[in-house]
Every structure is written in C-alpha cells, then in structure tokens.
C-alpha cells in the first residue's frame, strides 16, 4: 500500500508506558490508579438472585472498599453476560448477553461507584437482520461497533458486525465474507486504517456443555479458522488469513511503526502474529504455543499486551494459568513467568501503568468447570516485569454474585473532571 504525504495531522496523545490494552483507541484512557473494577457477571443457579449483574469492586489501595464489592446492579434474568465496552467518551458502558442478545447501557459517569442502567436494547436481532450473540463492544466516534457470534437462521457461526449510534439507534449491519463467515473480536488500528476480525463458533456450540461438545466431532468442525483484514473506513474485507483453531482476542501493537497484532487460537493454544508486509498486505504466522498441550487442549482464552508492546499476558482456561511472554521480538516470544491463578481462569485486564493485572474465572456458563473446580473469582495481581504477585482475591460465589467475566476500570477523578495533578499538589499528570 502506498503511503501518502497528504496533510499530516499530528495528534499528540500523551506518552504512556503501559495501557488498558483491550480498549478502543478512540476512547480516553484511565492512566492513574483505578478506583473501581466493573465486572460483568453471569448469574449462577443458587447463587444470590441468580441473575446477570454488573458488579463494582473497590480497587484503590488503602480505601475501605479495597477488594470489596461496592455495588451490584442486577439486570434480571440470565442472558449469558459476556463482554462490554465503553462509549467513545467513556461515560457509558454497553454490556451484552450472548444468549438473549440483549444490550444494557450503564451510566458510569454520574456516580462511578454506582453504575445505573439508562437504556436497554432488546431489538438487536431484529435491528441487525438476524445477528445473534452480542460480543465485542468497540467504541467508534459517536458509535458502538458490536460483533455478533451467530445468526438467527441456524444458530451457526455465520455472523456480522453491527453498528449502533451512541443514543441507541441502529446504523448498519455488515456480514462477514462468505469465505470467513465466523466472528468474534474486532479491533481497529486507526493509523493503518485496518480492522482485524477473528472467529469463534455459533450459539448452538457456545451454549452447549463443553465436555459434550468436545466429544461431538461434527460440532467441533463448526469453529472459525480465519481472521479477516478490513479496510476499516470502507468497512470492506481485504484479506482472509488462515488461522486454525478459533482465533479469539486481537491485540494490536500500540507503539508507532509496530504494524502488527497478536491473536490467540483457543483450540490449539497457539499465538499468531499478524503483520503488515512492505506491500501493505498482511501475513499471519504461528509464533508458538502457550503451555503444554500433550494432555489435551488448554484453551487459550485471553491476551493482554502492554503499551510498550513488550509483555504479553496469555491465559489458558483449563490449567487456570497465566503465562507472561516478552514479545519485544514479536516473531519469537520468550516466556518470562508462569502463574497459576486458579482452577480455571479466563479474562486478563492490565492497567495503563502496567503495574496491576486483574483476572476473572468464568469462560461461559456451559463451559466452566464443575464441582470444586468451578472457582469463581476476581483476582488482582501486581506485576514488576518479572513476576506476578497476589494483591487481593474476591470469591464471587461466597459473595453471592455469580460467574465473573469481563473487567473494565473506573476512576472518580476521571468522571468528576478533577485534575490528576491536583492530587497532593504534585504534577503527576494524566500521561
């Protein structure tokens, strides 16, 4: 692709040394100490009210609420709460249910300790022309890009990208290409005008018991094996990349001139490097496995990349372990440390300053482990570049909450429009 010399716009975003890596680049980041972790939680039989809920947990060390539940908002009923994402101004958190395709919009700005539901969208399937399974919520300017996992016609993996305006009005549906119809994540690299989408499986698989599913050879064929590179502005697919084993989370590198992304394939636990070649096209290469697969699949489920593009946190569900890799050379990841988080682990979320890492345990209600291995927790760890050290752990069953899934951060100062620098009259600014 030719690079152009047109009107160079230099937008000086403040330099940072780590990141909230999962977040849209169109959305401002919380750069200091987070006050809250918002945990989108799946309801669980016999646990509390059994409903899905947004749980707010205190995260500021020294605060009386540190490591404790601050508030909880039940949405009523079980919807397979899964992913969520802030709007471009970070004032609202959109959260979805994979089973019912419902969307709840929480106001987190008015009172960051007590999010409130301000809108419910129950027409996603009808609006979108039959897309099922609201997954990724990715902020675009004034809009929300939502990936589907399935469709209403056969509940298989063919699905689409759906856009809504921030006020909840439907904008458009873009079906994935015929040669790569499955969907999962969608992430944009604005500097390159490229979007990457990954691929999972349809509702008739993700709502099915995992053990039963893995024993059904025919059903196991219905997983995505591709990633798609898009012209983001035109919303047009450019390339389909072969990537066997259900590539899930996409993490674009953040540093200037790092024209690559890493994805992880769940079924093979392989890391894939998607890299732009000098001709502008992208290549996808297997850059190694996460963990020992000799005793069965570990299920590589989540990734987090530090803002300096050095550390990659990789969670494998079956062994409940996080492995941290040095990806300074993204072609050759080097294992830095291995930490057993619990009997099962799913999501990993890193703070902007790179010093804290949070984990949750639940993958899907039908895929979580059974019996005593069904630990359900939010766990906070510190990271010093060499090892993970436990900070606090909150038992979501003992607290009568449910199965914790995705995490996002909140901060009082951010929403109260206070200067970071005002704290302690020192200039420890939002950079």
């Amino acid at each position: 692709m030719s690079k152009i010399a047109w009107l160079i716009v230099v937008l000086v975003a403040s330099l940072a040394h780590a990141d909230e890596t999962c977040m849209s680049p169109y959305m401002p980041k919380i750069t200091g100490q987070e006050d809250y972790v918002y945990v989108w939680t799946v309801g669980m039989d016999g646990v509390g009210d059994g409903s899905d809920k947004l749980v707010t947990v205190g995260a500021r060390p020294g605060s009386p609420s540190y490591g404790k539940v601050v508030s909880s908002v039940s949405v009523g009923g079980r919807h397979e709460a899964h992913h969520a994402g802030f709007t471009d101004d970070r004032r609202y958190l959109w959260a979805g249910g994979l089973d019912t395709s419902m969307i709840w919009v929480f106001d987190v700005a008015s009172d960051p300790a007590h999010p409130k539901i301000v809108k419910t969208i129950s027409t996603f399937v009808q609006d979108s022309g039959g897309v099922v399974g609201t997954h990724t919520f990715f902020a675009l300017p004034g809009r929300m890009l939502i990936t589907g996992l399935s469709n209403a016609k056969d509940l298989g993996g063919k699905t689409a990208l759906v856009e809504y305006a921030n006020d909840g009005g439907f904008v458009r549906t873009i079906w994935l290409p015929d040669d790569a119809p499955y969907g999962y994540d969608a992430r944009v690299q604005p500097r390159l005008n490229r979007m990457l989408t990954s691929s999972f499986t349809g509702k008739k698989n993700y709502m099915r018991d995992l053990g039963e599913l893995m024993g059904d050879a025919e059903a196991m064929k219905a997983f995505g094996n591709t990633a798609v590179v898009w012209d983001f502005h035109a919303r047009k697919p450019l390339q389909t990349l072969a990537m066997p084993g259900a590539p899930l989370e996409i993490r674009w590198a953040l540093q200037p001139r790092h024209d690559w992304a890493i994805t992880g394939a769940a079924l093979t636990s392989k890391l894939w490097l998607v890299e732009q070649a000098p001709d502008g096209r992208f290549t996808a290469n297997d850059i190694g496995s996460v963990g020992d697969q000799s005793k069965g699949p570990l299920l590589l489920v989540d990734l987090s990349l530090s803002a300096d593009d050095r550390y990659l946190f990789a969670d494998t569900f079956m062994d409940g372990t996080c492995r941290v890799f040095d990806v300074s050379d993204p072609h050759a990841p080097k294992l830095v440390t291995t930490e057993k988080i619990g009997s099962q682990v799913n999501m990993v979320s890193q703070t902007w300053d790179g010093k804290r890492v949070y984990f949750t345990s639940s993958l899907l209600s039908a895929w979580d482990k059974k019996g005593k291995d069904n630990e359900q927790f939010l766990a906070a760890y510190g990271f010093d570049g060499t090892k993970l050290s436990p900070l606090f752990r909150l038992d979501f069953v003992a607290e009568k909450l449910g199965r914790p899934h995705i995490m996002h951060f909140g901060q009082d100062q951010f929403y109260k429009n206070q200067l970071y620098a005002a704290e302690g009259a020192t200039r420890t600014a939002s950079r």
């Binding site: 940072a16 401002p28 004032r91 904008v171 458009r172 950079r431």
Partner: protein, 242 residues
C-alpha cells in the same frame, strides 16, 4: 514539554498555572505516542456512509450576535461541524479541529466539486467566554477562503440541547477544591452533516484527517439522496441473514 507561556493563555489558565500544569496534564490520553496516518483513504464513492443520527435544528448566535439556526446557516449544503472553545490548549483537542477545518476550507475553495456545496461550522461550547465578538475575531484570524462560520450560544440553556443532540460531551475541568480550571474535558469530535440534517460521519482523535473528510464529503455529495434511508432510528431493520 513546553510550558504554557502566552499571556493570553495565562489569563485564561490562571487556576491551571497555579497548579504548574503543562498542556499534557489536562489532555485526555487515547493511545501511545504521536499519531501520523499511514494510509491512503478509500476513493470517494467506493463506500457508504449511512446516517448515524438525525439532528433537530438548533438556535445559535452568529458572529454578529444575531440569533439564527444551524439549518439556516447551512441551508442546502453539507456541513462539517466542530465543537470547540477558543481558549482550548489541549494538544489533541480544539486546535486540531480548527487546524483541520482550515485545511478543509482551503481545499474546498480550490475544489470545483465541493466549492459552494459545504459550510464549515466552528461552534463554541463555552458561551461564558466565547461571545459573538470573540467568535468573530476567531473567524478573522482564520481568514476563511469559503463558507466558514463561527457560532456560539447565549447560555447553558441554549447550548445544552445542541450538545446533547450531537452527542458531544463537554464538562468543566475542576481542581480538587471544585474550582474551575478554565478548561473543559471533552472528546474531540467533528461531525459531517448532510443536507437533511443527518450525521453521516463523526471524526475524533485518530480519525480526523482533512483528506478523509474531503473524500467523505464527495461520497455523500455524489450519492445524493439515493443511498440514504428515510430514517435511522431503531425501527430501521437490516436485511435478513444472507
């Protein structure tokens, strides 16, 4: 990092300077490092820009202080609307918006297809300080080559419906003691509005480039009314599963 130095800026940022702030202290952080686009925008007419939301008409004050409406100012033309305040110093804020509008202004004036078809609007969300006279002075400083208006509002009551309709956030940035720093927290947003008052694209940090906006203007202009739907609200449904 360069300190705020100009007297004009210091007068506005008294509270901020008392805290020894630098521009980056008050800026939102979106990503890592500087942003330089490294792609050729898609050609006009090769993609669609479906309506994102329909806008009501809103009263504003023009540079003379006369009350008018946005629709009146942009009647029959496409509009590029940027919400700004004239004392903004945020590196990824209003100066970027106004810089892009200036590039658009010059490019549109030199473009036979777009000349006369587009109105640029810089709308203030700081009615306390951005009086019509100050907006007129800002217009003079930018020496428009084409149709570029600088508008404001009388007060918060006049401003708030305008911001809410566009979905533009703007909040006074306060110090810990509650005092106003003289600055606003806001996500930079620029809106492309079609002739029927529908938002067709929204640009913010990492997405606001004059060349991209020019191609979008051409795309909307060439498509005319043929490709757009009559309504964009939630009762609009997409085509069914193919």
């Amino acid at each position: 990092m360069r300190r705020l130095g100009a007297a004009a800026v210091a007068s506005v940022l008294g509270a901020s300077l008392a805290l020894a702030l630098e521009p980056s202290d008050v800026a939102y952080t979106y990503g890592v490092g500087t942003f330089v686009p490294a792609y050729a925008p898609p050609a006009p007419g090769t993609y669609e820009l479906p309506p994102i939301r329909s806008l009501a008409d809103h009263a504003v004050l023009d540079e003379e202080g006369d009350e008018t409406t946005l629709r009146t100012l942009t009647s029959g033309r496409l509009a590029v609307v940027a919400f700004v305040y004239t004392t903004c110093v945020e590196a990824a804020g209003c100066p970027v918006s106004l810089g892009v509008l200036q590039r658009l202004d010059h490019a549109i004036a030199d473009d036979a297809e777009l000349r006369g078809a587009v109105t640029l609007v810089a709308a203030s969300f700081d009615p306390e300080r951005d009086t019509p006279a100050r907006m007129a002075a800002a217009r003079t400083r930018h020496t428009p080559a084409g149709d570029w208006r600088f508008v404001t509002t009388r007060d918060a009551a006049m401003l708030e419906p305008l911001l809410a309709d566009f979905g533009q956030d703007a909040a006074k940035l306060r110090a810990a003691d509650g005092s106003w720093t003289g600055l606003f927290r806001h996500v930079l947003k620029v809106f492309l509005v079609d002739r029927d008052g529908r938002v067709r694209n929204i640009y913010s940090v990492g997405f606001l480039h004059a060349e991209l906006v020019l191609n979008d203007l051409r795309t909307v202009l060439r498509a005319g009314d043929a490709q757009v739907r009559s309504d964009v609200r939630s009762d609009v449904r997409s085509d069914p599963v193919p």
